[in-house]
Amino acid sequence: MPGLSRFLQNATPDGAHTGHRRVTRHVRAWLAAGAMRRAAGVLGLAVGVLGTVGIAAAEKLPKEWYLISAEYPPTARATALAIEEPLAAKLKLDRPGSLDELRAVQAQVRRVVELATPATVSVELSDSLGSGVIISSSGLVLTAGHVTVEPKRPLWVRLPDGRRYRGRSLGVNHRVDSGLVKITADPPAGGWPSIPVADNAAQAGDWVIALGHPNGFVKGRLPPLRLGRVQMLEDCTLSTDATLVGGDSGGPLLNLRGEVVGIHSRIGERITSNFHVPIKEYREDWPRLVEGRMTGVPDGEDPAADRPLVGVSLTSDARGPLVSQVFPGSPAAEAGLQVGDRVVGWNDEPIQSLAQLTRLAALAEPYQRVQVLVERAGESPPNEANRLENGPPQRLNLVVWLTRVDRRFPGLASESSGSQAGSGSDAYDEDPR
C-alpha cells in the first residue's frame, strides 16, 4: 500500500489490552521468587524526585561515546589496598577477639574511606536519584538497575565535591538490579577518580564498608560511611548489616582492601536487612551491560508490552521499503538514517519487502544494536550538474541502537497506569534530549 506509514514496533497480539492483569501476576511471581526477600520486605532505594532536574540543557555528546571496550575488569583501574598481616590473619576469625583488633580494623577503614570517597558519586536523573561508584579512569560507573531504569538516558554524575558531569546510562539488568553508567563529559587530567572491583566474592562474616548518598546528595556532606559485616549470601543478593536508606541505591559496598564487592539495592524492615547486588552479577553480565542492553523489565511493567523502537516511518515501492520520515532524537536519527534511504539489509539479512522488515524489527529486542544496510542516492557529481539523475547509489552500514516504545505513548496510557507496584520508578518520563 503506497503511503503506508507505520512505526517499526513489536505489536504483540494481546499486550495492549491485558496489561493490568499481567502486571499484577508478574509482581506476585517476583515476590515469591526469593523467600528471604519476601520475609524481609523488599524495597528499592532510589529517591523519587518530584521536580525535574535540568538535564534538557544543551549537551555536547561525543560521537560514538557508547563504543566501549567490553573488557572486564576495565584495565585502567586503581589498585587495591594491602591488608597488613596481623590484621589479615585475625579477620579470618568469626568474631573479633579484642579491642586491639577493632583498632586495626579502624585504621584500615580510614584508609579505605580515603581511597573510595572521591569515586563515590551521586547519579541524578529526571525522575530518580541514586548513588554510584566510578570503577575506571575512563568514567564507567556502577549503579543499581532501578536508579537508571533504562539504557541510553541522559543523566548527571555528581562528585562528592558537588561538581556535576553529564553521563548516559548503559546496560540495565532488572532481574538482579544492576546498572552501568558512562560519564560522557571530558575526563579531568589523569582520568576520573576510580576504585577497583573485587575479583573474589565476599564471604559471610567479612567486614564491609558502605558509602553512598543516603536521602540524596547533601551539599557539604561527604558520602557517609557505614560499617557492617556480610550476613548472608544468596544467589543474586548479598545481605549485610551496613545500614542503607533511599538514595543509597547504586552506592558501593567495599571490602577492607577498598574493592567494590557489591552495589546497594534494597532494604527490609529490620535494621540488619540491607541487600546488595554482588559484584559477580556485573562480571557475568558485563558484555550486555557495556553494550547497553536491558535485561528484564522495570518493576511492575509488563514484559509482553516491551517493544523495540527504531523511530522511522516507512513507505514501500516495488523494490522494497523506503524511509519516509525520521523522528528527531530517535535511534534512527542518532545512527544517521535519512529520508529517502532504501533499507536493503537488517542484521546481514537482505530485505525484499516492507512486511519482511517489519517482522524482523518486531522480533528485535529493545536496546539491541542492529546493523541496518541502507542504499542512499549519491551526490550529483559537480561537473555533470545538468544531469537529471543523481550519482550511483551508495551503500551504508549504519548501527542503530534501538530504544523501546515510550510508556506514555498515546493509546498505551491505560497500560502504564497499571504499573503502580514500581518502587521509586513509577514514572517513566522519556528525558528531553
Binding site: R95, I209, D241, G246
Partner: protein, 445 residues
C-alpha cells in the same frame, strides 16, 4: 505492626533452618551414593564437609554474633565504658524513660536532650545507684536541644567536660569534687596517661564502686579529634555500651526545617497587642496545648509578637519537636501555655523517605536544625539520646542528641557541649517557669 513482622521473620527463619538441616543431612548421602558407584570406599574429608555445611548455613541463616553491633562486639568495649557508665542517669517522665542524662557536675548537674522532656517541668532521674530524684530544668538551649537538670545531691560521679580545656585540650575525666584541681593541672600539661597509669585505677573502681575513688583521666588534643571510620560506643547504664557504630561524617551543620504550630490566624487588627487565633487545628501543637479560637498570642518565648510576621518568624526559628512558650490573652486573662511544634505535612516523596528511614526503628521528633553535629551509624533508640559516645580509647567524642534516620545518629561534639555548659548552668538560658499556670493578671492595654 512491628510485632507481626518479627513473628513473620522468626517463622521464616525457623523453616529455613529446618531446610538447611535437611540439606546438610542430605549431602553425605549423595556423596556415599557416588562412592558406591565407583566401588571404592573413601572416608569423606571432614574439612570439606565442614566447609559445605558452612556454605549452606551462610545462605539461610546469619548468627547473631556476626552483627557489627552484636552483644559480643559491645562487650569488647566494656573496658572503655565501664567508668563512664557510672555518670549516666535515666531521665523519666510519666514513669517511662524518655532520655539518658549525663552527670556533668558532682553536685547534681545533669545534661540531657531538651525536647525529650516534652512539656515536663520536673522530670525524674534514676541514678547509677538506683535512687530516683526529682529534677528541675535550670537551662534549655533550643538550638542544640540541650537541657540542664539539677537534682539535690552531692558527690556524684561526674563526666567532666572541662570548658577551660577547650581552647587547648579537652579533658574527659571521671572525678569527684575533691580531684578537680589535679585534673585541671594534668590537662594543662597535655600529658597522655599511659596504660600503666590507667590500669590500677580502673581495677580499683571495678572492684569497689566508690565514687571517691581516683579515676583515670584522658586528654584529647585537637589532632585526636574523631575521624570518619572511627569506632564509637554509646555509653548506657550497664557495663557494656548500649550500641556500637562508626563515625560516618565529621561535624557539620544540619539544616533546620520550620516547625508548625497548627493555628489559623485572623487578619483583624488587635490594637497591637498580638495576633488573634481564628482556629486551632485539631491535633496540632497549639490545640494540644490548649489554645482556643479567639485567643490572642502576645508573645513567643518571651518575645513580643505584635504582627503575624513577627509570630511567623518566631515560630519558624524553631524546629519540629521543639517546645515553645506562648503568652496568650484570653478575654481578661493572661495564660502561659507551652506547645510542641509539629512538622509540616509531607509530600509524597517525603512520606516515602520517612517510611524508609523508619524501617528498623523510631526516629527522634527533634532531628533537624543543629549548629553542628557529628554523624555516626549507631542504631540508637530515641530514648537513649542524651548520653555520651566514646571512642576505642575511652575518650569522649560527644553527646548523642538525635536519631535522625535509618543510617544516621547525631552527636554534639564534646567541645561544643563544653562551650554551652556555663550558659546552661548559670540561669542565662533558664526556661520560663509556670509556677502559676493560669495567672490572672489583667492584660496591659
Amino acid at each position: 505492626m512491628n510485632l507481626r513482622t518479627n513473628k513473620w521473620a522468626t517463622w521464616w527463619r525457623g523453616w529455613l533452618s529446618v531446610a538447611a538441616l535437611c540439606a546438610v543431612l542430605g549431602q553425605p548421602t549423595v556423596v556415599v551414593g557416588q562412592m558406591l558407584d565407583d566401588d571404592e570406599i573413601i572416608t569423606p574429608d571432614l574439612g570439606d564437609m565442614q566447609d559445605a555445611l558452612r556454605d549452606v548455613f551462610d545462605r539461610v541463616w546469619a548468627p547473631r554474633r556476626r552483627y557489627a553491633d552484636s552483644p559480643h562486639m559491645r562487650s569488647l568495649f566494656r573496658e572503655v565504658v565501664t567508668d563512664a557508665a557510672r555518670a549516666i542517669v535515666q531521665v523519666r517522665v510519666g514513669g517511662r524513660q524518655v532520655a539518658l542524662g549525663t552527670v556533668v557536675g558532682p553536685d547534681g548537674w545533669i545534661l540531657t536532650k531538651a525536647s525529650a522532656l516534652g512539656l515536663e517541668d520536673s522530670p525524674r532521674c534514676r541514678l547509677a545507684d538506683g535512687t530516683v530524684h526529682s529534677a528541675r530544668v535550670v537551662g534549655v538551649d533550643r538550638d542544640f536541644d540541650l537541657a540542664m537538670l539539677k537534682i539535690e545531691a552531692t558527690r556524684l560521679v561526674a563526666l567532666e567536660l572541662s570548658s577551660a580545656a577547650v581552647r587547648v585540650d579537652r579533658l574527659v575525666a571521671m572525678r569527684t569534687d575533691s580531684t578537680t584541681e589535679d585534673a585541671s593541672s594534668d590537662t594543662a600539661s597535655g600529658r597522655e596517661p599511659t596504660s600503666a597509669e590507667q590500669g590500677p585505677a580502673r581495677d580499683k573502681t571495678e572492684s569497689q564502686p566508690d565514687p571517691m575513688a581516683e579515676s583515670p583521666r584522658v586528654d584529647v588534643s585537637r589532632e585526636q579529634l574523631p575521624r570518619v571510620g572511627d569506632w564509637v560506643a554509646t555509653v548506657g547504664r550497664g557495663r557494656d555500651p548500649l550500641a556500637v557504630g562508626v563515625v560516618s561524617v565529621t561535624p557539620r551543620p544540619i539544616t533546620a526545617r520550620p516547625g508548625y504550630l497548627g493555628v489559623r490566624l485572623s487578619n483583624q487588627p488587635t490594637d497591637g497587642t498580638g495576633v488573634r487565633v481564628e482556629d486551632a487545628v485539631q491535633g496540632g501543637g497549639a490545640s494540644d496545648a490548649g489554645v482556643l479560637a479567639g485567643d490572642v498570642i502576645r508573645a513567643v518565648n518571651g518575645r513580643m509578637t505584635n504582627t503575624i510576621e513577627a509570630l511567623k518568624e518566631a515560630i519558624a526559628a524553631r524546629s519540629p519537636g521543639d517546645a515553645i512558650d506562648l503568652e496568650i490573652v484570653r478575654g481578661e486573662k493572661v495564660l502561659q501555655l507551652r506547645a510542641i511544634l509539629a512538622a509540616w505535612d509531607l509530600n509524597q516523596a517525603e512520606r516515602r523517605a520517612l517510611y524508609q528511614n523508619r524501617l528498623g526503628g523510631q526516629l527522634s521528633d527533634r532531628r533537624f536544625g543543629f549548629p553542628t553535629v557529628l554523624q555516626h551509624d549507631t542504631a540508637l533508640a530515641p530514648k537513649d539520646c542524651g548520653g555520651p559516645v566514646v571512642d576505642t580509647e575511652g575518650r569522649l567524642v560527644g553527646i548523642n542528641i538525635a536519631r535522625a534516620g535509618r543510617t544516621e545518629s547525631y552527636a554534639l561534639p564534646a567541645e561544643v557541649v563544653a562551650s554551652r555548659l556555663v550558659d546552661l548552668m548559670s540561669g542565662k538560658l533558664a526556661p520560663l517557669t509556670f509556677a502559676e499556670p493560669l495567672s490572672t493578671e489583667s492584660p496591659s492595654k
